[in-house]
Symmetry: C2
Subunit: 448 residues, 2 copies
C-alpha cells in the first residue's frame, strides 16, 4: 500500500477523457437516433455469455480469439462477448412463438477480441447492431441498409465517401462450384475469399490450391472477385461478368427495386469480393467501406436464417449489420466530421457560469446554481479564490459558457448581472428571475 506505482489501461483498450467521450456520445447518439427513426427498438444483453453460446455456431476454434474465464469456485465457462448476434439470437429464441414478427432490434454494446491490436482493430470496441427478425430477402436487407445509410448521412458522409458493398453467398458458392470446389470445401473457401484483399497473391493462390483450385481456376476466381458493379446493373449483367448462371442472383432484382424506391441505390455496389468470414451467414452479405479503400470495413453484415433455431428458438429468417466505432471514427476524423480538437467542440456547453465577486455572496451563489440546475440549466460555479473579473470571465469562456451570472455589490439587494458571453451585452436582473430570464434568452439565441 505504500509504494507509488503507475497503472495503464490494458493493451488494446481505451480511456475516454471528456473530449473523447463527447465524440463517442456523438457517434452513439447518431446510431441511436437513426435506429429509432427507422423503427428499431433498443435491447441489451450481458457483457459476458456462456462460452458454448459462441462455440455452438463457430466451433472450438473461436476460443483462442475470446477472453474466457470462470468465477472462482464456479464451474461455468464464460466469455466476454466478441459480437452481439449470438446474444440477440438467444434472446429471440427465449421469446419463442411470442416474438412479434417482424421484430426490429438494435443495440450499442461493447465487444471484446483477444487478438493483437492494430489500426482499426482494438481489444474492446463499441458496435452498433441492427437486426431484423421475420423478414426474408430482400425486405430485411432494405431495412438494415436504410438504417445504416441514415446514420452515415447524418455523420455527414455521402455515397462518394462510403459504399455499401453487397454480394450473395449463393452466387459465390455457384462460382466456386463451377471452378471445381467440392461442397464440403465451400465454407473454407468463404473464409479464404474473406481475406482476398489482405492476402499476398502468392499466398492466396497457394491456399486456393489446397481447396482444389488449379492455376486457371484461381485466375478465373481472381477475375470474378474484382468485377464490382453499380447496384443499378441488372443481375444478368452481374452474373455474366462473374461467369455464372443468373439463378443464384434472382433475389438481387427485387432488392434493386426496393433500394431504388428508397433512394438508396447510389449508396450500393455489387461486389463479389464481399463474402464475410462468419460461418452463419447465408444469402445476401454486405460491408460498408470507405471508397478510398484506406481502412478496414466500417460495417459488415448479412443474412443468418437458421441461427435462432440453432440456439433453441423457432426457425426464423433474420439479417443484421454491425458497425464498430473504431474504423468509423478514423473515417470521420479523416474528413473533419467528428468535431475539432479530438472532440473538445462536442463537449456540452454550460448555459451559465456563476461568479461571486463578493466573498459574502458565496451562500447566495450556491442557491443560484441550485435554482438554475433545478430549472434544467447546465450551470457552473467558479471555485477560484480569485476575485479578478477578467480572469473569471476567461474561465467562463474557456468552458464555452453562453452566459455569465456575476454577483457583485447588488447581490445583497437581490440583483445580479447576466452577461451574454457571445455578444458581450449585459443586463441587471432580479436573482429570483434568473432561471426564467436565462431560459428566454437561450430560447431566442442563435441555434447551436
Amino acid at each position: 500500500m505504500t509504494s507509488r506505482r503507475t497503472f495503464q489501461a490494458p493493451k488494446g483498450t481505451r480511456d475516454f477523457y471528456p473530449p473523447q467521450m463527447a465524440a463517442r456520445r456523438r457517434i452513439e447518439e447518431v446510431w441511436r437516433r437513426a435506429s429509432i427513426d427507422c423503427g428499431f427498438e433498443e435491447i441489451e444483453g450481458p457483457t459476458f455469455e456462456h462460452l458454448d453460446l459462441y462455440t455452438v455456431k463457430s466451433g472450438e476454434g473461436i476460443v483462442s480469439e475470446l477472453f474466457s474465464f470462470r468465477r472462482a469456485g464456479g464451474e461455468d465457462d464464460y466469455a466476454l462477448r466478441p459480437e452481439f448476434t449470438p446474444t440477440l439470437a438467444r434472446m429471440a429464441a427465449a421469446k419463442g412463438a411470442s416474438l412479434p414478427l417482424p421484430t426490429k432490434w438494435f443495440a450499442i454494446p461493447t465487444h471484446f477480441r483477444a487478438e493483437r491490436p492494430q489500426r482499426g482493430r482494438l481489444r474492446e470496441f463499441l458496435q452498433w447492431n441492427v437486426d431484423v427478425i421475420g423478414l426474408g430477402e430482400p425486405d430485411g436487407e432494405v431495412e438494415i441498409i436504410e438504417a445504416a445509410v441514415l446514420a452515415l448521412e447524418r455523420f455527414g458522409l455521402t455515397p462518394r465517401d462510403v459504399q455499401v458493398r453487397l454480394s450473395h453467398r449463393e452466387a459465390i458458392a455457384a462460382l466456386l462450384r463451377s471452378l471445381g470446389v467440392g461442397e464440403a470445401r465451400v465454407p473454407a473457401a468463404f473464409e479464404l475469399l474473406d481475406r482476398f484483399d489482405r492476402l499476398p497473391p502468392d499466398e492466396f493462390a497457394r491456399r486456393a490450391g489446397e481447396l482444389g483450385l488449379d492455376e486457371g481456376a484461381v485466375a478465373r476466381l481472381r477475375e470474378a472477385m474484382v468485377i464490382a458493379r453499380p447496384m443499378s446493373d441488372g443481375p444478368g449483367a452481374i452474373a455474366a461478368a462473374m461467369g455464372i448462371a443468373a439463378a443464384p442472383l434472382a433475389s438481387i432484382e427485387p432488392l434493386q427495386q426496393r433500394l431504388r424506391a428508397s433512394e438508396l441505390l447510389e449508396w450500393c455496389t455489387f461486389d463479389p469480393s464481399i463474402v464475410r468470414g462468419l460461418a452463419y451467414y447465408k444469402g445476401i452479405v454486405f460491408e460498408v467501406h470507405e471508397t478510398g479503400g484506406a481502412e478496414r470495413a466500417v460495417a459488415g453484415g448479412g443474412r443468418y436464417d437458421g441461427l435462432i433455431s440453432l440456439v433453441g428458438g423457432p426457425d426464423l429468417p433474420a439479417c443484421g449489420l454491425g458497425m464498430g466505432d473504431v474504423v468509423l471514427s478514423l473515417v470521420l476524423k479523416d474528413r473533419g466530421l467528428l468535431g475539432e480538437d479530438e472532440g473538445e467542440s462536442l463537449l456540452p456547453r454550460p448555459d451559465a457560469f456563476v461568479i461571486a465577486l463578493d466573498p459574502e455572496a458565496t451562500p447566495r451563489s450556491l442557491a443560484i446554481v441550485r435554482s438554475l440546475r433545478r430549472a434544467g440549466h447546465h450551470a457552473r460555479l467558479s471555485h477560484r479564490a480569485s476575485r479578478n473579473l477578467g480572469k473569471l470571465l476567461g474561465d467562463a469562456s474557456k468552458c464555452r459558457a453562453r452566459f455569465a451570472v456575476i454577483l457583485d455589490a447588488g447581490a445583497s439587494e437581490g440583483r445580479a448581472t447576466l452577461k451574454d458571453l457571445a455578444s458581450g451585452g449585459q443586463v441587471e436582473v432580479a436573482i429570483a428571475n434568473l432561471p426564467a430570464e436565462l431560459a428566454s434568452r437561450l430560447a431566442s439565441g442563435p441555434a447551436e
Copy 2:
C-alpha cells in the same frame, strides 16, 4: 452444429428487452442530464483492468469477489471492474499536473461482482459515478450531494422517500478509540460497523469482542450507532449524542452551512451507522437510503484523498458517489415512478405509421418512410400482407404511433391521408409535403 440447444443468460446478469431497455435508458438519461447540469463531464474507461489495480488498494482478499482472467497465451492478469473509482484514479493520475482543478467527472459504466446474486445485488449492474477531484471538505461533498439529489428529484423522489445519510470516519474512529479499540484495529472495526444493520446482534457482539470491545463498550457503541439526527442539528449536539468530543466533527458545520444555502439540508441526515466498507474512504462518507429501510443502499460514497497518489498520481483531495441501477429501479418501481407495464410506456413513440392499402403503392410507401426518416421523424412501415384498414390502424395504435399515413387510390396522384390517431381527425396532403406537414402537426400537438 445440428443439436437444438437452449441457452440462458449467465446467472446474475440481465437481458434487456425493449421495455426494460427503455426503463434503463430513462435512468441513464436522468443521471446524465443531472451530471451535465451540475457541471460534470463524462468519461469512460475499459470494462476490464489489470488485476493489481484492484489489489493495490484492497489487498488480495478482493480477488475472490472479482471475475479475473488472462488472455490465452498472455501473461497479464485482468479483472472485470467491480467499481469505477480505481479506473478514475488511474485516469486522473495519468494526467498528472496537467489535470485542471477542480475536475468534475461522471461515468455510467457497467460493473461486475462474482458474488451470490440476491435482491438488489446482481453480478452485472450499471452504476452512475460522480467524482470531484481537487476540492476538500466540504465543497466536494456538496457538489456530489447536489448532483445526486438533482437526479433523485427528477426521478420524482422527495426527502420523504429517500435520505442522504452522512457520517464522518474521524468521528467514528474517535468513538472507537474512546471505547478502547486500538488504532491498528480501526479498519477492521469499520468493516464490522458497515455490517451493523445486517448482522444479528449476537454475531455483532461476538465480532466486536474480537476487536477488544467488552460488553459495556458494545452497548455504548450500539447506542451511538442509532442516534441519527437531522443535518440541521449542530455538530455539538451530534457529538454529545455520540458521546465523543466535537473536534472530529468540525467539518460538519461548514457542510451544514453549504447544504442549507443549496437547499439540500432537508435531504440529509447525520447517521453514525454509515461507515462504508471500502478501505480507501476517509473523512465524510454517505449513503442514500430509502426512508422505509426496505432495500439496500441506493447509493454510497465518500472522500478518498490519497487514492490518486497511491496509483502514481499527484496527492489530491477527491470524493465521489456511486449509484447502482438495481436498487434504484426497485425503489422507483415500488412508487410507480419508472413507467407502467415494466417500461412499455417509456418506449419511443413513432411519429408516423405508413399503411399502403394499394399493393401498387409499395414502392411509394418505401419512398415516403425514407423521406420521413431523413427529416428526423420516427416512421414505421407496415409489413403485413393485410389490406384491412381497421387492422392496420390497430397495429399503428398498438405501437403508440401519433399519426397514420394512409396510401390509397389517391397515392398515384401524389396524395395521402394523414390521420391523427389521438383525435381521429384526418386530412389529405400532398405526399411531397408529408415531412413538413407532420413536423408542423407534431410541433403544435400536445406535449408528451
